[in-house]
Symmetry: C2
Subunit: 156 residues, 2 copies
């Protein structure tokens, strides 16, 4: 039994909100988002591998990775970290090379209660249409399966 992932995309607004609980302390969830070796082990769907190009998860740092599926399938992502506050908050930009110029901004917050951690991400897109296109691209599948992989990593 995994914890549910809630993804909300209210019509007419350019936001996506993601909420997920993890049976682990905030420090461990934070580390899995900021240590590039750990991050590469869980992000995205199971049948993809993640190649980190750069990943400096500190305020003002840059990140870039390529997600590779079967055959020649490869998707590139990059951005910058506006804010990285240990164990509590990460604010970063996000651009998919399949939609160049359409940059979103995400604020991730972690709250620990009794050793469990509630992760919440609030994403803003440059337009409602860009948000709708991101949702339609299958982001939900990758997010949910990624978090299942993160559960497994945190349980080790």
């Amino acid at each position: 039994m995994t914890n549910p992932t809630t993804i909300t995309a209210e019509p007419g607004l350019p936001f996506v909100d993601i909420v997920r609980e993890f049976d682990a302390p905030a420090e461990a969830v934070f580390r899995a988002h900021t240590d590039p070796k750990l991050f590469a082990r869980w992000v995205g769907p199971r049948n993809y591998t993640t190649e980190i190009i750069e990943y400096e998860a500190t305020t003002g740092g840059r990140w870039q990775y390529v997600s590779r599926g079967q055959g020649d399938e490869a998707y590139g992502f990059r951005g910058v970290f506006h804010t990285v506050e240990p164990n509590t908050r990460i604010i970063q930009t996000f651009e998919f090379d399949g939609a160049p110029g359409f940059v979103s901004l995400g604020t991730l917050t972690l709250e620990e209660v009794d050793g469990r951690t509630r992760l919440a991400i609030h994403e803003v897109y440059p337009s409602v249409e860009a948000r709708d296109a991101a949702v339609a691209s299958g982001m939900e599948y990758g997010i949910k399966e990624g978090y299942e992989r993160l559960d497994e990593l945190l349980a080790r």
Copy 2:
């Protein structure tokens, strides 16, 4: 006679759109946004001085400045550059220290026609309320007077 500055904030959406023409080539307008010495000479209202803390206007670079008015009045701003494409586009985050954690993302585009340049900025805020608060804070006055100062700098 200065060119008009159009600032649009449609109700119910978290965007601000700014459009302004300059009687100068795109290269000069771009330089005034990316060279910290030039930028400090025009940004903000006339009765403020701008102290640059850091300003690396390249993809992945950081920026931070303090705007000082009369007496002890001081406002801090900081962010990161997601994309800097010479003479055409700057995508950057923006945070005012009076509203910590409320980060906006702006895309500035420059289009040159017959030696004049049309500047357009599309800003997205984390909520409609945060956008409304930014507009209510008097951003319009600072933007318009700043662009008049930029006109004067470009005319030299």
